[in-house]
Subunit: 352 residues, 4 copies
């Protein structure tokens, strides 16, 4: 089959990532599942992978491997112990392959599986390909007849936003103000989910007026344009000087964490949650204690969170904004994302 | 009456803080309470106040004012609306004067009272004196005949540790390892309270062997000496390489936050709580999300938390280790604390 | 002034409750507040008070006293310690007079104040009158120019529903089904609040088609008519046989608790919350453990909850459905409520 | 092999349950595990099974089947997909066979597995035998050399108590009083676990002075003998008239629920948790709301809870009190339990 694989770091996208022929994946274990890819989401993390940002954190994975950690499609084959799944069933995939035996897997935190593999990320082959091999525990069956292609972004962008919103929930009540920073692939879910899951007032913050209009169409109560001061003055103005009770930072580079600390709740008890990454954050411990705030990191969500999110989508309460690209044009899709030209999420569709 | 007041910053303790005669406080409002000081705790924050560390965070309070934010004694006089308190009743004081009307006061978070005053800290006169004026809402009545003097350290050191332990509680279960950094006035409560309130295994970390022995006598399960590497290697060794699930940093200067990030849970989900202050902490956002950890600031506890703590003391489950000084020797007490020569907590007793 | 007072139990409404002349209330304590009543809600509890249902639970209050525990109006006079309130300010009142000193008052549970008084309920004079005396801690100031009259039902019906919804929140996630039983004065808030505060699917259950249409207009996802089987078959059908994960029973008489146990989640872990009262509930302990369900009683909400609810109303996210009656026609208002003829909530407006 | 199997209901123990020869269990699925039984706990539920108490709730399981749902022993054989377990490893077993795929399995609630089997209870063969067949997900490996025999009671009695204590935890703080009703196989864990896991004051309540002494030796702060009034007067006396904030009822028959409602917290907000079963509980809804209490059913704990409990045992913080019987004398063991003659828990040890 065809697969777009990461061969080396820090070259142009079409040089670092090459479209090559590889053997089809095969069932080898009793719980294996092979999925025919319908859509594979294009994530900023794919760009970061090419840039070697994750190289150390992932333990320097062996190259090459197939990218693509946000996948949906149809069941192609299943192992002998798998029940309830048949060839042709439309499915969306939790991004990890998990063991089901460790404590994280048993307690709703399977994305931290002690034996987990992360196709498309850690050297395990991902979904920029015709077929992907995963395991029964990663599969969510969609209603018969569902088109899985446009749903792919829920599999990573969606649940990453959802997981962060779940962390924000205990801090919200009517009157709470939450700022969503960055209305891109993740942030556009963040705005919707904060509205559906909490009673908070949601302010969208972005450097682009177009993306702020997009945020308003998704239900943001207010919007703020991030200019030279990163939106600090505007957020303080919109909150009557009180600052944001909760910040969901989907960017976390180009200085957004430092700006966030300035418009975080001026009284005690604000919560900053970072989902983006790239920059650093440097609170003094005096600020930390005297303002008693929380700085919380948030990663991809769990299988159950993906189930809940798909239920919200089924109910029509969360929408996806996806642009499709032929998979052979993966390099162009990465480039457009890098330039900030994709509204919502890009999805690769196999054209082989 | 006599009072030790902060006159200027950054001099020797006996020059910055001077023992002077001031008028006795008087009842002016219906809920006022005047307390005859039995004991006033000596806190590292008093040293920081002299060093102007808090000057900006407190809004540059007008000098001079009387220090002392950790007080116990006996009721001297009460306003006309106060019931249930009579002259001579032994009492311990919640450190703030709070309004009882704002949302924080109503929801168990009165230390963030929107109209709160903090005697001994923010320019309001504190307890390094013969008498202190506070309000009915700050008073906890002790059982008749109780000697309030040695209990004073519960009023600030105690509840600050207690508040932090409450923040740690949701993250603990049998098998969890918590590191308590710094076995001083606050940390010696931290060790005891982690044992009473949670099933965690507690490791005490300090630069002093004497204080580690002290920690063991208080119930620490294990101890680690912080050498040049801040105890990183020893904590990793004691945890089988897994690191600490929870860190309570009662120091937060001299590099302890940076060391803490190194021995924090190596897998995902560790929680670092700082109670100390002075240094800063600089996680990358990539670390924050890929390890999904929490960085939490913790300040003094609430009135209800002080009530709970006094109940634990009454049950004999939490002990205090206090050294008394005549109040006229406040400068010596501050100096000995600064040199690290006080085991547990120092308490000033009026000798006028 | 005129006041409608409860003189004896179990007569016709105009005989049990009599409109009489009483002295105007006066400021006697520093934190007293006198409010000119704009609207006083008419509650099923008022009927129960007349029927002596509460007589024992309230400790046999001395008769007569003025009814009316759901009040809004304008500040008339304040005690000397009260700041921030001036004659003419529109206000809504938390129903209790609370001390601000006990643990419940300090921890967000002021409706259980250890020294609390409940005007209109426990023998303290309520709001079926021209003026009501309460205390500073009970007052929520409304925006200048707000008409408080139609808002009165938030003061009791609203926060009682809100408090119950807060108890339901931890049990909800996308895919959860909640049944709201009884779409009357409280239930009509229950439907709206479940939609605003949680991602649950909401089924309204009532014996009246008119009230079910009303529920749909308020946002209920589905409705079920309670026939002879109390809606059991219909709820099971609407949930695909799984039953309701959460039940909010605003009726709790005429057999609704027994029916509820039949359509409660058939698998383990359902939660039944009762806000209504009158009947009893008789689970076997074998059912309780084998199905591991929760039976939870819920009473009026706290001051902070009323603040949150008023904020939701200000944002236009929760609406009130009120019918006004001249206060002199209190007996007719009680009678129409008793007959089930009031859609939403009835409010008495002084016409003296 | 030999196995003691339930053949018919409601006869004498040795007639209802017969020791017979059955084929050894065999590995058939990839994740199967066969355990050589070391010890099988004898539970009041076994008696209830013989008495057909569970017949309907379990869906009328096909007889005969082998009893025994509380098992520990050594690995005998494993399926081809099982890793990390080898013949001879000492193990304790979570009582259910679970799928690892459903929402309960993924969210820490595996005892409610949608496809779960419960050996010894639901018709699946249990551990009153030489060998038991279960699945990889049920196995907790013990440290090499551990004797599993006396640990068996942790597998059901232990985690059932632990699960209930976890439900009680959010309601406890220093000053809280918890009553543990019934100091038998489960209750003796309940007393210890409340002390280890919470800061509550623990009162043990039983009809036997011997068991109350036993409770004191396990750390109960106070004890109360249940006489004709079920201990109501004594509990009220011990709590200064306030009643118990939390009740863990390990009996729930012979009237204990009705008594419990009388000594439950007299102010608002008490929590009654039932682990025992047999009787019923009949609160009025007026009591439920006016006292705002919680009635909570609690069943066996999860795999993770068993792991946590074994960790507490490893740390020496929870002890077991077990009496062994030769397995061939199962009928005598059941009889002695029924008569209340077993202190702590009885364990059957294969003697074939």
């Amino acid at each position: 089959m065809k697969a777009a694989r990461l061969y080396e770091y820090n070259k142009d996208f079409d040089e670092s990532v090459r479209l090559v022929d590889v053997p089809d994946p095969e069932i080898t274990g009793p719980s294996d599942v092979i999925v025919k890819i319908g859509g594979a989401g294009v994530c900023r993390t794919d760009i970061h992978l090419v840039q070697a940002v994750w190289q150390e954190a992932l333990g320097d994975p062996r190259l090459p491997y197939t990218l693509g950690h946000e996948n949906a499609g149809w069941i192609e084959a299943v192992g002998p112990a798998v029940t309830g799944l048949a060839k042709g069933d439309p499915v969306i995939l939790h991004p990890l392959i998990t063991c089901g035996l460790c404590r994280p897997c048993r307690t709703g935190y399977d994305m931290a599986c002690e034996a987990g593999k992360f196709p498309g990320l850690d050297g395990t082959d991902g979904g920029y390909a015709q077929y992907l091999k995963t395991s029964e525990r990663a599969v969510i069956k969609l209603a018969p007849g569902t088109d899985p292609v446009p749903l792919a972004p829920f599999a990573d962008a969606g649940i990453t936003a959802y997981h962060a919103v779940k962390k924000a929930m205990p801090y919200t009540y009517p009157g709470t103000t939450a700022v969503v920073v960055g209305i891109g692939g993740l942030g556009h879910f963040g705005v919707q989910l904060m509205k559906v899951m909490t009673p908070a007032t949601v302010i969208a913050l972005d450097t682009s007026r177009e993306r702020l209009q997009f945020a308003e169409s998704l239900g943001a109560d207010k919007v703020a344009l991030a200019g030279d001061d990163g939106g600090v003055a505007e957020i303080l103005k919109l909150t009557g000087g009180r600052g944001a009770d909760i910040i969901l930072d989907f960017v976390a580079e180009s200085g957004t964490p430092a700006f966030a600390l300035k418009y975080l709740r001026q009284a005690r008890g604000g919560t900053y949650i970072t989902i983006g990454y790239g920059g650093d954050i440097r609170p003094t411990t005096l600020d930390l204690i005297s303002k008693e705030f929380n700085i919380i990191g948030s990663i991809v969500g769990s299988y159950s969170e993906l189930s809940e999110l798909m239920e919200l989508n089924r109910q029509g309460r969360v929408h996806i904004s996806a642009t499709t690209f032929p998979m052979s044009e993966y390099a162009r899709a990465l480039l457009e994302l890098d330039k900030g030209h994709v509204l919502g999420r890009g999805v690769l569709v196999p054209d082989f």
